[in-house]
Symmetry: C7
Subunit: 81 residues, 7 copies
């Protein structure tokens, strides 16, 4: 049986994939995860800010550096059923 | 008599089970607890965001990485009476 | 004269008793204190979420792990006069 | 001339006296200070929660453990002029 | 030329003087600064809580212990022009 | 294949470029990134505060020192598609 | 070419100059920067609190000690174009 992985290691598997990030102030951003560090600071490419329901693009950014302290949760976009 | 367990060890027992997590901004997410770390960062599979009463699914996610600093409480779904 | 006890030691005396916990976002939960750690992370059994006045049960949970950083105060239910 | 005392030592002088504690979310609790620790975690006996103006008792508790991180200020009830 | 002083040392000069303290939740308290520590925990004597504009006394306290983490700014009352 | 870079190193590449910074309280500032440190404290030149949608200039500043703890995300203005 | 300076060193250059400081709760204070420390605690002389748009003086203070944890950004008043 595969041993479950630590949260920070799961992030490693998401590098290069599209992720959705909800921030503490309820904002939702998405993009391609380029990298992260131990504080969960994230770099996204093709960054976009979504409306609060995460359905419509509000602003298009390029590369985005997100402060780890502001992250609520991260999910892999492809994984959504 | 069984000695009561530390909070972080109780989390170990919840791995593989369905949990409900209420976040600081009152959001409720649920899913199968895959793993956690010492900061209570959590990985959930079959992650879903619920309405604030925790009754209806609002968004379906796949794998979800939740920031431990944002967790209010965690409960095992099966344990609800 | 009995020397007063440290706050964390008082928690030890509450283990096995019913406690009421008010959280930072004004939510009130109650249950039987199973254990705690140095961060005041708490485990409750027969956990219930109350309305903000702490009078009516809103949701029934089973085992509840509460994040210590989110605790406002804890009181022993039996001690209420 | 008496040298002024450190804030934490002043707390020592309040042990056994009635204190009023205002919390970060504007709640006011009062009771007899039983003990405290270096994080300003407080134990009160005959704990009561007051309305926000600190005039009327809203809920009566017994022993109360207050999280130091949530304290705004503490004052000795007897000292009020 | 006199070398400017560190913020914590300026506090030393305010001991024994009347100060006004604005707190994070916009509350204003004033009184005579008795002492402080490295966390900017403050002790005030003849403590009073003012309205948010800092003009009228709302509650009179005696000795007040203010949590440093809650302080927004401190000013010497005499210094106001 | 180029190895992805750490978030803090990506900031190095933005020095001298125009950046948009969203702050925790939803304010948006933009300007030329002059420098930063490990806490993500930022120095901007030709600093401007924008409306919350980041579309119109509300106030023009010169040099701006932004507290890293207040940063939500940073993006390079040129990168916006 | 002059190497860009660290944020804390830029503060050194502002000593003796008029600065505008926006605080986390959106308050704006201004005055002459007397000194600062590594936590960005600031001392201002001729301190004034402005309205939220930073246009009109609301209260005049003398010397002001501002808690670094509460600072959102600092700008040199002279630098505004």
């Amino acid at each position: 049986m595969e041993r479950p992985q630590q949260p920070m290691k799961i992030l490693q598997k998401m590098v290069g994939k599209r992720v959705v990030v909800r921030l503490k102030n309820n904002r939702v951003v998405r993009g391609v995860l380029v990298n992260y560090d131990d504080c969960m600071n994230l770099i996204l490419d093709e960054g976009e800010e979504m409306d609060q329901r995460g359905e419509n693009v509000v602003v298009k950014y390029g590369r985005l550096i997100i402060k780890g302290t502001q992250v609520l949760y991260i999910t892999s976009e492809e994984a959504v059923g």
